[in-house]
């Protein structure tokens, strides 16, 4: 499979990654009905499938959501969650380019408000 082209963040971006996800959706749905596909093969297929850059990953999420493909949506969302897991807020911001728009006072207030979650 050739690498998908970069897209702009418009609603039509979902259409651009559709060919990749559609062909996978067809193959994954056919493997799920085929009795012979072993669990490990499917797992490694899934793992390889989501080894893409972040932009493509989000394109896949949006495409899976728009086309209502549950399996793909679950897989891609879990992949993003795994990138968040076990990282500090600063590390997460770095990975996803999230701008920290809290003032120091605001951040202190958030920490106080949710102190129970950090114990």
């Amino acid at each position: 499979m050739t690498a998908p082209t970069m897209t702009s963040r418009s609603p039509t971006s979902t259409q651009r990654s559709s060919p990749r996800s559609l062909s996978t959706a067809r193959s994954t749905s056919s493997t799920s009905t085929a009795a012979a596909a072993p669990a490990e093969d499917l797992k490694s297929f899934d793992a390889e499938f989501v080894k893409v850059d972040r932009a493509t990953l989000f394109d896949l999420i949006l495409a899976a959501n728009y086309l209502n493909i549950k399996g793909l949506l679950d897989l891609t969302c879990q992949t993003v969650a795994d990138m968040i897991k076990d990282n500090t807020p600063e590390e997460i911001r770095k990975i996803f380019n999230i701008k920290n728009d809290f003032t120091p006072e605001e951040e202190a207030e958030v920490r106080k408000e949710n102190q129970w979650a950090f114990e």
């Binding site: 932009a55 959501n65 968040i84 807020p89 911001r93 999230i98 958030v110 920490r111 129970w116 114990e119």
Partner: protein, 433 residues
Amino acid sequence: MDHGSSPTKICKSVVDEDIISNLPEALRDKILCCLPIKEAVGTCLLSRTWRYTWGSMTELMFRRADFASGNDSADDDRRFLKFTDMFLFLHNGPILKFCLNTVANEMVSTGGHLYRWMLMLSRNKIKEIQLQTSIRDSYKVPSSFFSCDELEYVYLRACVFTSLHLPPPSKGFKQLHTLRLEYVTVEGNSLGDLVASCPNLEKLNIRGLCSQSNINIRSTKFKVLKIEGWFTHLNLHAPYLTSVWIGLELNSDTVGASTTRCNFNLSPFIASLSDVETIRFHGHILECVEREFLILKQPKLFNRLTEISLEINLGDLKEANFALCLFQHAPNLRFFKLKLISRNSMVPRVHFWESIDRDVCLFQNVEVVGLFDFTGSFAELGFLKFLLEGAPVLRKLGIIDKGLDRNVLKNLLKLRRASKDAEILILEACFPH
């Protein structure tokens, strides 16, 4: 798509963008629901957009194991309970799914936490509840549970149902389609009443049932039914089942007693099943077979029955007759397994299987058979002979035993087979089935 600008320029602007914060809220919610709940709340520190995203999560999973610090377990319990209380207090929005896993710790029955959480859920349009609590953590089902009108899926453990606080049948769970209970104690006919108040219940799965009263379950919607446990009176009517699994265990007080006194309407129940595909009768349930088991008055066949699993004493006349009736009415049976019991050794040798009319081919479509705890007794060998001679498309016969002597093996080899493709595999019993 604009092919004019160079690819590297587009790449750079895209790579710098914060895509995740601009995803639709439903998708950010979904991503958070894939995280352990503590880390989901931790995203409040990311940016202003993320400050309250955790507060509208729709699917919640609270796992006590995530709070294990390796130190004082009681302190971990306290932190877990406090976290869950505060989370639900500050949560804002509908909660569609609530899962709790405190399997290794007893903590929900004391302190009233579960009652408060259930009350909160009943106000939040909850659709799915899974309380995977410890079986030592027994609790009475909170009355607010019955106010959760939108429930579709329920999984409860170690709880007690009494008739006293059940709602009237008119006010039940109208959307409930699956009910899964483990190690529940049922008083009176509360289980039957609960089922009666759920008009759309299709799947009922009970493990470790404990009941001493009369249970009367009637449903025309049931597709899958599993009841395993200890009960004394069971009356079932569910004619549209596709899969049924009944297992009766012995009360440990009566181990050694010759028969379990259990009233189960086995004949009328089976006679009413028309579209059943899988039948499993385990434990001591076949001891409830009546003396003259007449499965059907008119020649009705279970055309869709493809799989049977029985725990049976082939040397007992009643049970053997029951099995024969079942086989006679299952022309499309493809797979069956028998766990062989030799319960009553006083019963005289039964020439039952030898004396059956061989003209009718009973196992026409049977492909795979498993015989567990095979001892090579007279009755068992008789059945084996009967099976091999009557199964023209048999592919695999697995015999799992604890060691057979040479005579038995010699007799086995002598048996004629109707199917030229039949493989007989003799396997040692080394893992549970």
